[in-house]
Subunit: 290 residues, 2 copies
C-alpha cells in the first residue's frame, strides 16, 4: 500500500496554509477520510520547486495557491502551469483564519511584540489597534512566525498564524478569528502531468488568446451560453510584447464538462488564436465535514 500513496509537493513549511489545503484535499479524496492513508507530503522552498519536484518524479502532483479573495489571482502560478505543461486535476479552497498565538500560559497583556506575514498583520489590523503596546514585526511566512515564537527565549512575543501552526509548534491560541474580514479564502489547484478525465468532473479551466477586434470575446462567450455552460470566472491579461492581444483565463461549470467542452473545442478554436485546456476537475464544495 505504502508506495501507492500520492506524493503531493507544496511550497512552504509545515503548518502553512498550502500544507493545510493539501491535507484537506486528500482527506476529501480518501475512502477513510484520512489524508495520511492516501498521501505523503513533500515540502519545497518555492512554487517553482514544487513543480520541479513533479517533473523530476520526486512527487506525483503539486498543490499551488491560484487565487485569494483579497489579493486576487496569482498569475505567476498560471505561468508555471503553462511552462511545465501540467494539468489541473483538482481544486480546494480553505478559509484563512488568523489567530494570535503565544507560548502556553502567556497573558495577552504581557505581549510586547508580534510576528506574522505582512498580510497576517494587515488582516488583523482592527484587532491589533486595541493593543498599541504590541510592536508588529513582519516576517517571511505565518507558520515561520509561529516557529520563531516557539524557539524564542522571550515570553513577551506572539505570532499571528493558523490554529494548525499552533498545534505543530506547541503554542496556545490566545484569540482565534482575529482577521477583520469574515471571508478570507485561498483557492488551490492540484496539478499533475496528465489530464484527468472523469464523468464526475463538472469544472474546466481554459486559456485562450483573442484578437483585439470589437466583439471577439462576446462571440466566444455566446458559444458557452448556447450550450448552457456557465461562466464562473474570467480574467484578461495583455500578451507581453504584443499590443492589442489578450490572454483570457476562463473557468466553466457544467455536468460532464469533459465531453461537452470537447465537442465544441473545434468551434472555439475558430474564434480564438490559441486555445489550451488547463484541466478538467470536480468543483470544490465546502459542505464536507471538517
Amino acid at each position: 500500500m505504502e508506495d501507492k500513496k500520492t506524493r503531493a509537493a507544496y511550497s512552504g513549511v509545515p503548518g502553512c496554509f498550502a500544507e493545510e489545503a493539501a491535507m484537506k484535499y486528500f482527506a476529501s479524496e480518501s475512502p477513510t477520510g484520512l489524508w495520511e492513508d492516501v498521501c505523503t507530503l513533500v515540502p519545497t522552498g518555492s512554487f517553482a520547486e514544487a513543480m520541479e519536484a513533479v517533473e523530476k518524479g520526486k512527487a506525483d502532483c503539486a498543490v499551488l495557491p491560484i487565487e485569494n479573495s483579497s489579493t486576487g489571482s496569482i498569475l505567476n502560478n498560471y505561468d508555471l502551469i503553462t511552462e511545465y505543461g501540467f494539468y489541473i486535476v483538482g481544486e480546494y479552497s480553505i478559509s484563512v483564519s488568523q489567530c494570535l498565538l503565544a507560548k502556553p500560559g502567556t497573558d495577552i497583556h504581557s505581549l510586547r511584540e508580534v510576528y506574522s506575514h505582512e498580510q497576517g498583520l494587515s488582516q488583523s489590523r482592527d484587532f491589533l489597534s486595541h493593543y498599541p503596546q504590541i510592536r508588529q514585526t513582519p516576517v517571511y511566512n505565518t507558520a515561520y512566525a509561529a516557529k520563531m515564537v516557539a524557539q524564542s527565549d522571550r515570553t513577551d512575543v506572539g505570532a499571528i498564524a493558523s490554529v494548525h501552526a499552533a498545534e505543530i509548534y506547541g503554542l496556545e491560541v490566545l484569540q482565534s478569528g482575529i482577521n477583520f474580514k469574515d471571508i478570507n479564502q485561498t483557492r488551490f489547484f492540484v496539478l499533475a502531468p496528465a489530464v484527468h478525465h472523469s464523468p464526475e468532473n463538472d469544472k474546466a479551466s481554459l486559456m485562450v488568446t483573442l484578437p483585439h477586434v470589437p466583439g471577439s470575446l462576446c462571440r466566444l462567450l455566446s458559444i458557452f451560453a448556447r450550450e448552457g455552460i456557465n461562466l464562473m470566472k474570467i480574467e484578461s491579461r495583455p500578451v507581453q510584447k504584443r499590443n492589442w492581444e489578450y490572454y483570457f483565463f476562463i473557468d466553466l461549470l457544467g455536468d460532464r464538462i469533459d465531453a461537452r467542452l470537447g465537442a465544441i473545442l473545434q468551434e472555439i478554436s475558430d474564434h480564438a488564436q490559441v486555445v489550451r485546456v488547463l484541466g478538467y476537475y470536480k468543483k470544490f464544495t465546502s459542505n464536507e465535514r471538517e
Copy 2:
C-alpha cells in the same frame, strides 16, 4: 505657489516603488517636468492609511498599486476604492527592475548574505543561483532591505532593491536588472475624492454586478462593441455571500470616453444590477523621457 502643490499619499518608505510611481506620474503632469514643482509626498504605513490621509484632508490624492504583471490585481485596493468612494483620476505603470546593492567598494564575491522582499529574491533566483555562498534573507520591503544594509556594521551584506533605493541610502549598484523576467511592471492608480472630467481622458474603469443568467456578460459587452469602445481588461469576482452573482471590473478605452460612456450608462444599467463608474483618466503611455 507652495500651497497649491498636490499632496500625494503612498504606502511605504522613501525609495520604494510606490514613491517612484508617484514621482514619475507628477513629473509627467508637471509643466517643468519636475515632480517637486507640483507635488509633495506623504508616506504612510499602509494602503488604508494612504486613503485615510486623503479622507482626513492630510493629502489630496493617494497613489496605490492596483496590479502587477506577475502577481495580478490587488483586489484589496479595489475594495478600498469602493469603501472610501474615491475616483481614479490617473494611472501610471513602472518597470520593477531589481538590482544588487551594497556599500560602495564592496566586491560581489565577498557577499555572504542578501536582504530583499521575498518577491525580489524570487525574481532574482537565476542570478543568485550563481552565488550559492550568499544566504538569502527575506525582509519586509525592498527599500527597507537597502536601509538595513546601509545601517549595518557588516561589509558582507547586500540588498536587492531599486536603483532609486541605492541613491537614497548611499549604496552602490553592483549589478542591475537581475530579475529573470524582462517585463515586470506594476500599475498604480491615482485616487481622489472627486471625479475628474477632461476631454483628454481616453480610459474609464467600471464596476458592475451581473445576474448569473447565460449570456448576461455577452449582452453587456455587445453594447461597448457597438459603440466602438474597446475592452482593455476584464476581471470577475464572486459577490461574497451571494451565490451566482458576480462583480466585474472592466477597463474601457476610447476617445472622449467621459461623454461616450455617459451617453450609454442608462442602457448599461438596464443589463446590470449595480453600475459604478470608478473613474475617467488618461491612458498611461510609456514613451515619456525618463
